[in-house]
């Protein structure tokens, strides 16, 4: 019986020791420490850019069409020489995602023909007001220095894209996510 007691105490002391030296923890000291997410994690949406700063989104509304919870609303507008926002003739003037409606299924990411919207790694979705849950375009856009790819490689007038050029143009979205 004493043996059992000692065994139990030893286990408790072992875990206590581990806890003190920080070994084998399953919890983190959030928010100081943040958990790294796997590449396939579907977190908060991001709108990506090209290397030169242009937005990838052309406002085609396919994400809105595919969204099962109708969380995406967008209105498009036309690029002008003075105001070149995206790589095509069209860009999303208003791009909103209602995060309370969103079920994070990732369909928008799959539907996107321009690799513009991706599900990011951020899982911090607490807000103070309900209106804050409507993510505007500026809330989701990547900073310009995070852009990748060259829109010329997406020129619709060049139809032949080899597998090599295709890969380099699209980059590796998973790799980008790991940087986040």
């Amino acid at each position: 019986m004493l043996v059992d007691f000692l065994k139990g105490s030893a286990l408790a002391l072992k875990h206590m020791g581990n806890f003190i030296i920080g070994k084998g923890n399953v919890t983190l000291e959030y928010p100081e420490v943040k958990r790294e997410q796997p590449a396939f994690f579907r977190g908060r949406h991001r709108l990506q850019r090209y290397r030169d700063g242009l937005e990838r989104c052309v406002g085609c509304s396919l994400c809105a069409a595919v969204c099962p919870s109708e969380a995406i609303y967008l209105e498009a507008a036309e690029n002008t020489d003075e105001n070149q926002v995206s790589a095509g003739e069209r860009y999303a003037e208003i791009y909103q995602i209602h995060l309370l409606r969103c079920i994070f299924c990732g369909f928008c990411e799959e539907a996107c023909p321009e690799n513009a919207i991706v599900m990011g790694a951020s899982y911090e979705l607490a807000m103070n007001k309900r209106t804050d849950f409507i993510a505007e375009k500026d809330d989701m856009l990547d900073p310009a220095e995070k852009g990748f790819g060259d829109y010329h490689e997406y020129d619709p007038y060049i139809s032949h894209v080899t597998p090599e050029s295709d890969k380099s143009a699209k980059g590796d979205p998973w790799a980008v996510k790991a940087e986040h």
Binding site: N79, Q84, A87, G88, E89, H152, D155, Y157
Partner: protein, 463 residues
């Protein structure tokens, strides 16, 4: 422009040149000169006959169209609906087929033979009005023809009382604007009507519904000239030199790497070997023959192994080619077939009217690929793509037989035949990214075809 003399060949012993005999000596440009050598005799003969009799004579003579398709002329005339008037005769003098230059000497040096043929044909088809549609670049031809027509009117040969017979024949000389497509018969008609030179949908054929929606016969200059000579000399004379169903003589235009290129009047009984080595004096610098394009740029190519084929419609059809408009281009061994094809494809791309999809897009696509191979930028699979577009022969591939008019076929045939003949050369171009033929002139550039509406930068370029 001279018409070359013929050598003394046994096969030509009894052959008589009539279209352009001894052009230097016999000046027959004016009516006076032409009447001296028996001009307008054919009209008198025609006026004495009934229209059906003339058509029968032409049918009997076996005359086939000289423009390229080789359709029997008498049969074409008999397609006219009975009793439908007015009807028109239109002379296709829009001689634009590369390598062909036979109508030009006929019009410039003996214009009255054409007028004579027109009057005979008009009597035969009971038409009172004929149009001569002359290629835009043929300024002199048009001028000479117009002068001749004016002369004929003044002499009472044309007009409301043709040579005192009471019949009426009017001739209008019209200059085109220099588009190859307007040599296609229905495009010629739309152009003549004052519209964009687009080929019309067939059926209805022009013999039923042609110029201004009226029955119309369209014949080549040489065909109509032949009509006059057949009436003058008889159908049997015309049939004296005959190979299968190819009767009579016709003008052969030889260009390329022979010692004596030129326009020859020949019966269709000689072999290609006789023509190149006897009539034209052999290859230049005694080079090897590489290939022949025997009937204007759109017909399939002929290799040296077929040199013994007879130069006639049937003879060339037997070796997979066509007599076409009898514009023979001869190439020696210094010619890169890819370069030659790129040249031809560029021509067809430039001359496609753009009306129907397969020809508009196909001719340009073919040209882009061939030009790329020629530049040494060919890729694996290009030849298969060319094959798929151009096909392997008539009515195969994506263009042949699917376009409104024959220009689509004409753009595809050289490609398919070049691939048939010189597949290895094309493969070598792609594999070695270059060309082993040294003496090429790189005058062909893509931007030769660039339209001013093209934009060379991406339209949303922000740089």
């Amino acid at each position: 422009m001279t018409v070359s003399t013929l050598p003394d060949l046994p096969a030509l012993a009894e052959f008589e040149r009539v279209f352009l005999p001894n052009i230097e000596e016999d000046k027959t440009e004016t009516l006076e000169e032409y009447l001296k050598v028996g001009g307008y005799e054919a009209v008198k003969i025609a006026l004495a006959k009934k229209p059906e009799e003339i058509t029968e004579i032409i049918k009997d003579s076996g005359l086939r169209g000289r423009g390229g398709a080789g359709f029997p002329t008498g049969m074409k005339w008999s397609f006219l609906p009975k009793g439908a008037h007015p009807r028109y005769l239109t002379i296709n003098a829009d001689e634009s087929e590369p390598g062909t230059c036979k109508d030009r000497p006929l019009m410039e040096q003996r214009p009255h033979t054409l007028i004579e043929g027109i009057i005979c044909s008009c009597i035969a088809i009971e038409s009172e009005k004929a149009f001569i549609y002359i290629r835009g670049e043929y300024y002199k031809s048009a001028k000479v023809m117009q002068d001749a027509v004016d002369e004929a009117y003044a002499a009472g040969i044309l007009g409301d009382n043709v040579m005192g017979s009471g019949k009426r024949v009017d001739v209008v000389v019209h200059r085109g604007a220099g588009a190859y497509i307007c040599g296609e018969e229905t495009a010629l008609l739309t152009s003549l009507e004052g519209y964009r030179g687009y080929p019309k949908l067939k059926p209805p054929f022009p013999a039923i519904k042609g110029l201004y929606d009226k029955p119309t016969i369209i014949n080549n200059v040489e065909t109509i000239v032949s009509v006059g000579w057949i009436l003058k000399k008889g159908a049997d004379w015309f049939k004296k030199f005959t190979h299968e169903r190819s009767t009579g003589q016709r003008l052969l235009c030889v260009s390329g790497h022979v010692k004596k290129p030129g326009v020859y009047e020949l019966p269709m009984t000689l072999t290609l070997r006789e023509i190149i080595y006897d009539v034209c004096g052999g290859m230049r610098n005694d080079h090897d023959l590489k290939f022949i394009i025997p009937g204007g740029s759109s017909v399939p190519w002929v290799l040296p192994e077929h040199l013994d084929a007879t130069w006639s419609m049937e003879g060339l059809a037997a070796v997979g080619s066509s007599l076409g408009s009898a514009g023979m281009m001869v190439m020696d061994h210094t010619v890169c077939p890819v370069w030659a094809l790129a040249n031809l494809s560029a021509f067809y791309r430039h001359e496609s009217c753009g009306q129907c999809t397969p020809c508009r897009e196909g001719s340009a696509w073919l040209q882009k690929i061939v030009m790329r191979i020629e530049r040494g930028e060919g890729e694996e699979g290009d030849l298969e793509t060319l094959r798929a577009i151009a096909g392997t022969g008539p009515n195969t591939g994506m263009i042949c037989g699917k376009s409104i008019c024959a220009l689509g076929d004409a753009a595809a045939w050289p490609v398919s035949s070049a691939l048939n003949c010189f597949w290895d050369d094309f493969e070598e171009h792609i594999k070695t990214k270059g060309c082993k033929y040294k003496n090429k002139r790189y005058w062909m550039q893509d931007d030769r075809f660039v339209n001013e509406t093209y934009e060379h930068k991406p339209s949303w370029g922000h740089h």
